[in-house]
């Protein structure tokens, strides 16, 4: 195991971090839209969110990625492996994040909505200014948890041809015949990244008021 091999793994972990970060953020955006749909009075939207969540939570991510990778070209849409990976991971994490957020939205005390009503906020303003910030704070530890899960799940996108940390490790082990050293190194790099994510999460919980704690 040389420094040269290790630095190739570290470089590939940049792709892991990039894909995971984009997917978490896109997934959060989609999860907020799903939450809005669930809080709306339109029955159709309720049905749609239920279907969305049950599909993306119920089907293995590996199967989703392979399906997406083969389905899109069949529909005449040609996307890079990178884009396919982002879409697959984002939609999957969106389903989980929507479920996390539901707990947060349900836990926003009714009185805080009433005080917004009395202050003249419209339902949309209350959603943006009161419900979302509070629900995000309440569910922040779950979001950190989900970020760690997605970082690890991103190893699956190697099947759609994206060279990230796991794929690089597979390539290197095939060419060097040092699988133990290489996969141990890859595991170590995942561990370090996730320790950093967890530390950022703890820091944010300490610094931001109301983070990860009950609203009162």
């Amino acid at each position: 195991m040389t420094w040269q091999l290790f630095s190739l793994l570290v470089q590939a972990s940049g792709m892991t971090i990039l894909i995971s970060t984009i997917s978490i953020l896109v997934g959060l955006g989609v999860a907020i839209l799903l939450s809005a749909a669930r809080l709306s009075h339109l029955r159709v939207l309720h049905g749609f969110t239920a279907l969305f969540i049950s599909f993306f939570r119920g089907v293995p991510l590996l199967v989703q990625l392979l399906l997406l990778f083969n389905l899109l070209p069949a529909l005449g849409i040609s996307l890079s492996g990178f884009a396919t990976a982002i879409i697959g991971l984002s939609l999957c994490t969106a389903a989980y994040q929507a479920e996390n957020l539901r707990g947060g939205f349900d836990a926003v005390p009714k009185g805080l909505i009433e005080s917004a009503d009395m202050a003249g906020f419209s339902p949309a303003q209350t959603f943006l200014r009161i419900r979302i910030p509070i629900a995000l704070r309440l569910t922040f530890p779950a979001l950190v948890n989900e970020a760690i899960l997605i970082l690890k799940a991103s190893s699956l996108v190697s099947v759609v041809g994206v060279i990230e940390l796991t794929r690089m490790a597979q390539n290197l082990s095939a060419s060097t015949f040092m699988p133990v050293e290489i996969f141990a190194s890859a595991g170590l790099i995942y561990l370090v990244i996730n320790q950093v994510v967890a530390a950022i999460g703890r820091y944010a919980e300490r610094r931001l008021p109301g983070m990860g704690q009950a609203a009162r």
Partner: protein, 265 residues
């Protein structure tokens, strides 16, 4: 006959939760400038009545008029009640500020953020002006130096004063208080009642649901005694508290005499 429009008119209001009737045919006028106190035992319906006045609860029948305008439902000639549009309800509600038992401050905003939020978001004032006005209200309730604290960093009494400042910032004509001191430690009720006394002295129309009989007797100008969903007495304190008192009121007051309302004994 030129009677001024009451700030609040409650007209034949009844309210049921399922089979349980919690308000029974209540009619009450609250003229501008009055400090109207709603007193009565737990479960008498006083908080429900206040919440109906704010349209946080829907009445089952009857009307609520704020400054002469119907709130929540618009009146039809046929007597059929039609739900107002949200915009109409907001417009009428803009006359009202509300203070809650549990303060209901938004935990992710500082005191200044709580007081200025609606000025920015609803009234669309520029940030600097909204915050200047908010600061003026915080100063009024004696909390200017706590402006950048979050609710979790404030005592209960301070939180409630921020909540009062938040309501006042929107310059309402009427302030509703729903048991504003019930969630506070006894030593913290004084600071909140002092702010309320100041407001009353300035001529604010106030409706106060309270267990502070001493406050009601000394600051209230209209005392309403509710029992089992019925408005049993309504009048100035010297009339309502005058002896001999009706039996039901006497029983109720008995439990408060040793709790700081000894002047009524």
């Amino acid at each position: 006959m030129t009677r001024p429009t009451p700030a609040i008119s409650v007209v034949n209001v009844s309210k049921s939760f399922g089979q349980t009737e919690v308000l029974h045919d209540i009619s009450l006028d609250i003229p501008a400038g009055q400090v109207s106190c709603l007193i009565g035992p737990s479960g008498s319906g006083k908080s429900t009545l206040l919440r109906c006045i704010a349209f946080l609860e829907e009445t089952t029948s009857g009307r609520i008029l704020i400054e002469g305008q119907p709130l929540g439902f618009s009146e039809q000639d046929s007597g059929y009640r039609a739900r107002q549009s949200r915009a109409q309800t907001r417009a009428v509600r803009a006359n009202i500020g509300m203070v809650f038992q549990q303060f209901n401050l938004w935990p992710h905003m500082t005191a200044l953020g709580n007081v200025s939020a609606a000025l920015k978001v609803v009234r669309k004032l520029p940030k600097a002006e909204a915050e200047a006005r908010a600061m003026a209200q915080l100063t009024k309730v004696g909390l200017a130096e706590r402006a950048h604290h979050y609710p979790s960093q404030l005592s209960g009494g301070q939180q409630q004063r921020v909540a009062i400042a938040r309501a006042l910032a929107l310059e309402p004509k009427i302030m509703l208080f729903d048991e504003p001191t019930s969630a506070l430690d006894p030593e913290l009720t004084g600071e909140v009642l002092t702010v309320m006394r100041t407001l009353a002295a300035e001529g604010m129309t106030m409706v106060v649901v309270t267990h502070e009989i001493g406050f009601a007797a000394s600051v209230g100008t209209q005392i309403n005694f509710l029992d089992q969903g019925r408005l049993l007495f309504s009048g100035p304190p010297e009339e309502v508290f005058r002896k001999p008192r009706p039996q039901r009121l006497e029983q109720f007051l008995d439990t408060y005499i040793d709790r700081g309302a000894s002047m009524l004994a």
